[in-house]
């Protein structure tokens, strides 16, 4: 990858709001990441952390109302997708950016054969005759490893298993050779052996076509196997962004660390308890102030023990009162390069050592949009 290569997709300071009866929810705040051609970016996070909403907003598929983009930009090949007309957007969807969904069982129209559905996508974007489109569709089915595609092309979705349907979805998504494939938890609804097959298939197709993949998942095993770079999201924000090696070697955000600890490992001592992150994911209607992880952060409490009392505040943690650093409660940490090619949004990311540089809260968003292009740097890092 050339060093001066432009990112394929670049999200800068994206903010999304949902207008509800109880006021505005902000499921996505200041999210920035980018993907380079041929790269796989995994977005990891718990349910409701905003990873799917961000992905849907790339295709501008957020139901509106109630959804609304409040700020930021989504650049795909230097074009801001948020500025396109609906008609221009339709020619991006499916052709340049395709998406596969979590539920292959319900993503296909039950009244048409799978061939008809793939052909619809092909004729829409490629301007070929129906006969040619069926040829392409047959090839697409063969590419995703469906046996006897000539016969299967006339099958209805209900005649296929979940794994096969997900293959059909992938065939449909890839039939127009998109430059970016958004895979929103593509294997969650499938059993483990099929999961492995589908991911293997995606890797193979990526290798053949050179497309980029945005892989949304909460499975760290999948991340380790497939991703080049990883964005960890927690409560509407990106909290850590790094190459997959850096992230797994040395997670800098306590949330990422917690995620790794909560994965069961083979060879671990029997009867030992699986570690979990205490507490629950905060409700988007009622996010905590400051760092959104401070209510659950083990590091914050650890640090508080060695800090002077005037820098601490008491918070309720479960049933007990604990001390945490004042800065965690009062100030939202920005995502910053803690190490080369490794970004984290924690005040104490530098080995718990130095106190954070204080930045005015109001400048916070601008800072993120202008200075932060984690993917750009991270992409070059991969290139080196």
């Amino acid at each position: 990858m050339a060093k001066d290569q432009q990112p394929l997709l670049e999200i800068n300071g994206l903010n999304i709001g949902f207008d509800t009866n109880r006021g505005q929810l902000r499921p996505v705040r200041d999210v920035s990441y980018s993907i380079f051609p041929g790269q796989t970016l995994a977005v990891v996070g718990e349910s409701g952390c905003g990873k799917s909403v961000t992905a849907l907003s790339i295709l501008r598929l957020i139901p509106s109302p109630p959804g609304r983009v409040l700020g930021g930009e989504i650049r795909f090949e230097q074009r801001n997708l948020l500025g396109l007309t609906e008609k221009e957007m339709r020619s991006v969807r499916g052709k340049d950016i395709a998406m596969i969904f979590q539920e292959p069982m319900t993503s296909l129209n039950p009244v048409y054969t799978i061939g008809d559905q793939i052909v619809e996508a092909i004729t829409l974007h490629q301007g070929v005759s129906t006969r040619q489109a069926y040829k392409i569709a047959e090839q697409a089915l063969a590419d995703v490893g469906i046996a006897d595609p000539a016969k299967r092309i006339a099958a209805y979705p209900h005649q296929m298993s979940g794994g096969m349907r997900q293959r059909v979805m992938i065939a449909m998504a890839l039939s127009c050779q998109p430059k970016l494939l958004i895979a929103d938890e593509p294997t969650t609804a499938l059993d483990v052996t099929i999961q492995a097959q589908i991911l293997e298939l995606l890797r193979k197709l990526q290798h053949e076509t050179g497309m980029a993949i945005l892989l949304i998942t909460h499975d760290l095993g999948v991340v380790a196997e497939n991703a080049d770079t990883v964005a960890v999201m927690y409560a509407s924000r990106v909290v850590e962004f790094a190459t997959v090696e850096d992230l797994f070697d040395k997670p800098l955000h306590p949330y990422t660390e917690g995620l790794f600890r909560s994965v069961p490992k083979l060879g671990e001592e029997q009867h030992s308890r699986l570690q979990t992150i205490p507490g629950n994911v905060p409700n988007p209607a009622n996010f905590p102030s400051g760092c959104k992880f401070h209510t659950r952060c083990p590091k914050a409490r650890e640090l508080a023990a060695s800090m002077p009392a005037d820098q601490l505040v008491k918070i309720t943690f479960g049933e007990e009162q604990v001390n945490v650093p004042r800065v965690c409660v009062q100030q939202e940490p920005t995502l910053r390069a803690v190490e080369p090619n490794h970004w984290a949004a924690c005040h104490f990311a530098e080995n718990y050592a130095t106190a954070p540089v204080t930045t005015p809260q109001s400048n916070h968003r601008r800072e993120v949009t202008s200075e932060l292009a984690p993917g750009r740097a991270a992409g070059s890092a991969v290139a080196q």
Binding site: R93, N109, G145, A154
Partner: protein, 359 residues
């Protein structure tokens, strides 16, 4: 080298697949045709349609075949119903033959159901009534189904203020008793001066078409029924569309770049089509019956023979023992209504998977 378990290696001979049995689109149709009763009903409906279509044919003499020997005496339906068989004895009872003015006996189906007060054949009128009835049923259904389906899908898919307006409109219409609304609508349409005459400025064939096939009073009945009866279908379709709108299938379609109209008409419409078919078969029967009621109230079709019109005519002479006209018209309605109802029932059973496999 990593081996993809999903793709068989090329040298591996894969066993040929069994041909896939396609339990496809026509399954429902097969279920309907399977029963003997259904076959009979289908045949009855088919015969009615055939009669209705045949009645549109002109007489051979009208299209220049008047000199061909075999066709010479064949009359068009319009001529047959206008022919007075026995002006001296208006209320002739059913018989197998009749004598013309020269005293020659003719064997003709014309006398099977007797003659009406003006000496016209009841038999031919009953057959002609099938055409009127089918025109009303089919055209009203087309009008009603297109309004109900498109408004329902638009309301359900787009939601928001569009949904509010459509829901409001059909709720208002839904609160008024249907028959009253139909009667009011008929009054409004028939008091409209511009509707009284067929379009005179239209070119000849168009004007002739409206005069002969779709006279104004027929059109009024069709519009009065069609414009008022879409509410229940609209409500059904809206609900179903609301459900489908949030499905992954629609999300996937949008992610592929399909336009909204394409999603609505190519992807949502087929998924609500069972509702449309069932509503059609069940409401068609209703239209036949309401046409009779309207004729009874002097609001129906009067320029062409219709079953309702016949019953209305015959009600006064029933006391004088003229039973054949009302019997023939009622019988014709009864048979087609029963056939359509039974068909509609089995169609619903066949198309609704939740009812399938039950008795």
């Amino acid at each position: 080298m990593s081996i993809n378990p999903a793709i068989p290696a090329p040298d591996q001979t894969s066993t040929p697949l069994e041909p896939i049995e396609m339990p496809n689109r026509i399954t429902g149709w097969r279920l309907v045709v399977r029963g003997r009763l259904n076959k009979i009903c289908l045949a009855i409906v088919g015969i009615y349609f055939l009669v209705g279509l045949l009645s549109l044919l002109p007489a051979p003499s009208q299209i220049g075949l008047g000199n061909v020997p075999g066709f010479k005496s064949i009359k068009s339906f319009d001529q047959l119903i206008d022919y007075k068989y026995d002006p001296d004895q208006p209320y002739a009872p059913p018989a197998l033959s009749y004598k013309d003015s020269q005293g020659i006996r003719h064997y003709s189906p014309a006398m099977w159901f007797g003659l009406d007060f003006s000496g016209h054949s009841v038999f031919w009128q009953v057959l002609y009534g099938a055409r009127t009835a089918l025109l009303i049923t089919v055209l009203t259904s087309v009008l009603m189904l297109s309004i109900g389906t498109s408004l329902g899908m638009i309301a359900g898919y787009f939601g928001g203020w569009i949904d509010d307006i459509i829901t409001w409109v059909y709720s208002v219409i839904g609160t008024i008793p249907w028959l009253l609304l139909v009667i009011a609508m008929t009054y409004i349409l028939s008091s409209n001066e511009s509707l009284k005459e067929p379009p005179t400025h239209a070119p000849g064939p168009v004007a002739a078409f409206f005069k002969n096939i779709l006279p104004t009073d027929l059109l009024i009945v069709i519009f009065a029924l069609g414009l008022t009866d879409w509410v229940s279908l609209c409500r059904l379709i809206r609900g179903e569309t609301l459900k489908l709108r949030d499905s992954d299938m629609v999300a996937a379609g949008r992610a592929l770049g399909l336009s909204e109209l394409r999603i609505i008409f190519r992807h949502i419409l087929p998924n609500v089509s069972h509702l449309i078919i069932i509503t059609f078969t069940l409401s068609a029967v209703g239209y036949l019956q309401v046409e009779v009621v309207l004729s009874f109230l002097q609001l129906g079709v009067s320029s062409k023979p219709s079953w309702g019109h016949m019953i209305d005519d015959a009600k006064l002479t029933l006391l004088r023992g003229v039973w054949w006209e009302v019997t023939a018209a009622t019988g014709a309605i009864f048979i087609i209504c029963m056939a359509l109802t039974l068909l509609g029932d089995s169609l619903r059973d066949a198309l609704d998977p939740k009812l399938r496999g039950r008795d």
